[in-house]
């Protein structure tokens, strides 16, 4: 089924024009490793090689689920260590710093490395099936997302062995997070691990958005889309923008720790407040990013096990949409105890009350669906129902925190801990239900029903025994291991609940594991009332999912012969040059390679400021990353865009270009957060009292001229490609390369002169913002030049004459870099 380079030479790269070459037959000795990583037919499930090379969305989905469960065990063990410590009101089990590390990494692992990836395991597996796609739009990027996620988690684990992991709480508040207070290298590693995770998330967001907007089966309009897929669509839009703000925060924090900038510690500016703004601008949407997939899965399970369509389905979707939008307008309710002004606190109290209203509607919709339907208390439904129950408690107790005066009292106490877990772990409960719900589809076998129900009751009892006493013992200070002795009983109850909940999780995992062999085999649809597309195909589904082209044009799901598919409601596009016999590639070694390179590079960066072994590690990582990226670029990998699909509202633009635009939208938020940080710090410092760092605007003006000219050259290269002029393309790209180098040299001269005047990144906050923001822009220029360097030899071979899209895509990026400079220049050189 899969692409085979050695036999199929018609395969071409998506970036155009690079015909694959047959591989030289490896000789016996050198070949073992090489053969292992060489693509051919996708190996069977039992082979390790399959799991290292696969790009198929279902395999990647399984990898996500299994890895997330491993991180659940990691985070769970840390939680139990905390609960053992809290059996008594004094610290007698863990050291003070050990407890801080345990609390911090438990939060980080559960929020980042367990909950969202667990949900995205299902999203990977189920969303393409529900929308009628063969795979995601960019399968290699999907595998890359997974491997970056895994290695970011390994990096986090390693941080414990570098003098201690991060110990400042999962919110990483500044200035506690800077080296003065947290000097160990492991803290920097944790921050870099999270940065790597965010890169994985961004790649994934671009991929899912392109897929869901461009690859839906004919007739599957957005309105008809299944609720789980709807929830993922909105989740991914939130992820795209929210994680970009977090990336900015993490890059700045990394810079403060590694390069010595002073964003979060400078005197005279509200540096610590800047962190809270950046973090919570991400952090509140993150609550819904984590919860929405669970909500979508709940909606699916409620429909299936009540045997009826969700009551008010349209309003349920509208409510989710409203919450997704409003989630970016409530972040300051996490900052009521800071020095922000009362007017903005009042405004954000109102927006916070506002966001609870669509949730009310969704809860009523789920309840009324139960009232109108006939309940079937299967294991998945028990978990979904339990989730709704505890979510209501979590939601109501959260409203207290949205009120300014109550928040003054409750913030920093176990009320927040209890509320937070009632919301977050209700999401986990729904996702465990989803695991049981889709388990037959993933494995072709049914779980053990009796163990399933037992696991629910233990889970439900353990959950409430763990978290409900925290509401009663709310006066316990958060993140601190000693507390008033009269609250000891409640904490001991909570510890018992914690162990019960941990046992329930193990039972779930055991049930899933054993049922792989012992479970009864199931048909394509073991649930009588499940109606979404994944239940219309075998369990587990075949490699390319569907027996024909899925279509909803008749009002229900049909599989059409590909030749006779009509175009009503869909958009017909010519098959892309990469299609060959309708079969796509499903394996690549490069996503794993790039992730290993990134892992080594980030590990090196964590201690590079201290020198020693970390310097060569950084160099090796950088080299490995460069080689694997080149391999990725040169690889022949075939992906077919569906000829007919529902593509509103992006019908007139191909997958690749839409992917670039979506990525750029995320980059706008990244740069926006950097510029926003500058504006914020300058506003706090006094706008006119702030001194401009460069002594002279002329070097900046020259660089503006250079970048504008390079943008013009890229446009000319595109025009030449469209007209089939090879040398025009080469000249345009080469001039761009030279101008980019000139830009960097000019910038280098300017920086060296500033260094000679004893102005460094660490001199003051003005210098920090100047060097870091223009440095980030310079890094974008460097990345652009690497791409041009890759494109020029290919242009010499005439690669872009038949297909100029790669030149256009590069241009979109390069012009964006130009536009960013058009704002950095006046902000940092003139005003």
């Amino acid at each position: 089924m899969s692409d085979d380079r050695s036999t199929d030479e018609s395969a071409v790269q998506p970036d155009g024009g690079h015909a694959s070459r047959p591989l030289a037959e490896p000789t016996s000795k050198q070949s073992t490793l090489r053969r292992f990583f060489t693509r051919d037919d996708l190996p069977p499930y039992g082979a390790l090689r399959r799991w290292l090379l696969t790009t198929n969305h279902k395999d990647v989905g399984v990898l996500y689920v299994v890895t997330a469960l491993l991180f659940l065990v990691f985070g769970g063990v840390l939680a139990l260590l905390m609960r053992i410590e809290l059996l008594t009101p004094v610290g007698d089990f863990l050291s003070a710093d050990g407890y801080n590390q345990t609390v911090s990494t438990h939060g980080l692992i559960m929020v980042f490395w367990f909950l969202s990836p667990f949900a995205f395991g299902f999203a990977n597996y189920i969303v393409p099936l529900q929308i009628g796609a063969k795979d995601l739009a960019f399968p290699r990027l999907n595998a890359l997302s997974y491997w970056l996620y895994l290695f970011s988690g390994i990096l986090l684990g390693l941080s414990f062995f570098q003098g201690g992991s991060f110990s400042g709480g999962w919110t990483m508040y500044a200035p506690l997070s800077v080296p003065n207070y947290m000097p160990q290298i492991g803290s920097t590693t944790t921050i870099l691990a999270l940065t790597l995770f965010v890169i994985s998330v961004t790649v994934s967001s671009v991929n899912f958005l392109t897929t869901m907007h461009r690859m839906r089966a004919p007739g599957l309009t957005l309105r008809r889309m299944p609720l789980f897929t709807w929830s993922i669509l909105l989740t991914v839009w939130m992820m795209l923008f929210a994680f970009a703000a977090l990336l900015a925060a993490l890059l700045i924090l990394s810079s403060d720790r590694i390069l010595g900038t002073t964003y979060f510690t400078a005197e005279g500016t509200p540096g610590s407040l800047l962190w809270t703004h950046l973090f919570w601008f991400f952090g509140h949407p993150e609550v819904y990013i984590v919860f929405f997939p669970a909500l979508g899965a709940m909606a699916e399970m409620f429909q299936t096990f009540t045997g009826r369509r969700l009551v008010g389905r349209k309003w349920f979707i509208v409510s989710m949409l409203l919450v997704a939008l409003q989630s970016f307008l409530v972040w300051m309710h996490h900052m009521f105890l800071t020095s922000i002004n009362l007017q903005i606190k009042t405004l954000f109290m109102i927006t916070t009350i506002g966001i609870s209203l669509p949730f009310d509607l969704m809860v009523f919709s789920l309840i009324y669906t139960m009232v109108k339907g006939r309940l079937r208390f299967t294991t998945p439904f028990l978990f979904a129902f339990g989730s709704l129950f505890v979510f209501i408690i979590g939601g109501i107790t959260g409203v207290f925190l949205g009120a300014v005066v109550l928040d003054y009292q409750l913030r920093g106490t176990y009320w927040v801990v209890a509320h937070f877990h009632y919301v977050m772990v209700s999401g986990v409960m729904a996702l465990v239900g989803a695991l049981y719900y889709w388990y037959p589809k993933l494995t072709g076998r049914m779980y053990n029903r009796r163990l399933g129900k037992l696991s629910f009751w233990l889970f439900f009892a353990g959950f409430n025994l763990l978290y409900f006493p925290m509401f009663i013992a709310w006066e316990t200070p958060r993140r601190v291991f000693d507390y008033p002795a009269e609250l000891t009983g409640f904490h001991q109850l909570a510890t018992v609940g914690g162990f019960l909940l941990g046992f329930a999780f193990l039972l779930v995992i055991w049930n899933c594991y054993r049922s792989l062999w012992d479970g009864e085999t199931v048909s394509s649809n073991p649930w009588a009332h499940a109606t979404t597309a994944e239940w219309a195909i075998p369990s587990p589904p075949p490699l390319e999912n569907f027996p024909g082209m899925p279509s909803y044009e008749s009002g229900s799901l049909d599989f059409l012969d590909r030749e006779t598919a009509s175009t009503d409601g869909g958009t017909v596009t010519k098959p892309t040059p990469s299609s060959h016999d309708g079969h796509d590639s499903h394996a690549s070694p490069w996503p794993l390679g790039i992730s290993i390179g990134s892992f080594v590079l980030f590990l090196g960066l964590s201690g590079v400021a201290t020198g020693g072994i970390y310097v060569p590690i950084t160099i090796v990582g950088g080299g490995l990353l460069a080689v694997t990226l080149l391999g990725f670029g040169l690889e022949s990998f075939s992906v077919t865009e569906p000829a007919v699909a529902e593509r509103w509202p992006f019908a007139g633009i191909e997958n690749g270009k839409l992917g670039v635009w979506i990525f750029l939208a995320s980059d706008i938020v990244l740069f926006g957060a950097f510029v926003g940080s500058y504006v914020f710090l300058r506003a706090g410092y006094g706008w006119e009292a702030w001194k401009i760092v460069p002594h002279n605007p002329i070097p900046g003006l020259i660089n503006t001229y250079i970048l504008l000219t390079s943008s013009f050259c890229v446009v000319l290269a595109l025009v030449a490609a469209q007209k089939g002029r090879r040398w025009g393309v080469v000249a345009g790209l080469t001039t761009t390369l030279l101008l980019g180098i000139a830009f960097l040299i000019n910038k280098g001269i300017e920086w060296i002169e500033l260094f000679h005047h004893n102005i460094w990144l660490s001199t003051d906050v003005q210098a920090s913002t100047f060097f870091l923001t223009t440095g980030l822009h310079g890094l974008h220029v460097v990345l652009g030049l690497v791409i041009v360097l890759y494109m020029i030899p290919r242009a010499l071979n005439g690669a872009y004459l038949d297909d100029e899209r790669p030149v256009e895509y590069f241009g979109l990026y390069w012009h964006f870099v130009d536009i960013v400079w058009l704002f950095l220049f006046p902000l940092f050189y003139i005003l």
Binding site: L274, I344, F650, A665, I668, G672, A673, V675, V719, D818
Partner: protein, 86 residues
């Protein structure tokens, strides 16, 4: 799409506007007026590059909305955060 003359005119305009921004800084205008003019020119330049060089004017309008969503997100963070400390 391939309109070299139009692209050249835009390039010249961008060049002139960049020079004008530095010239404005050298004039003795009030601070607010200078800021308004200089940022205004940057906005015009950005719209020209995005509209013509990145072809946003001829792409489906939905792509522009994606870009504007990112921009709006960044602006919301910048202005609300800055206002919160006034």
């Amino acid at each position: 799409m391939a309109n070299t003359k139009l692209y050249t005119v835009i390039y010249v305009v961008l060049f002139v506007f960049a020079t004008a921004q530095v010239a404005i800084e050298g004039m003795s205008l009030g601070f607010e007026l200078a800021v308004g003019l200089i940022i205004g020119l940057s906005v015009v330049k950005a719209v020209l590059v995005a509209g013509y060089y990145q072809h946003l004017f001829t792409e489906p309008r939905s792509v522009t909305y994606v870009v504007l969503s990112g921009l709006l997100t960044a602006l919301a963070l910048t202005f609300a955060a800055s206002y919160s400390i006034t």
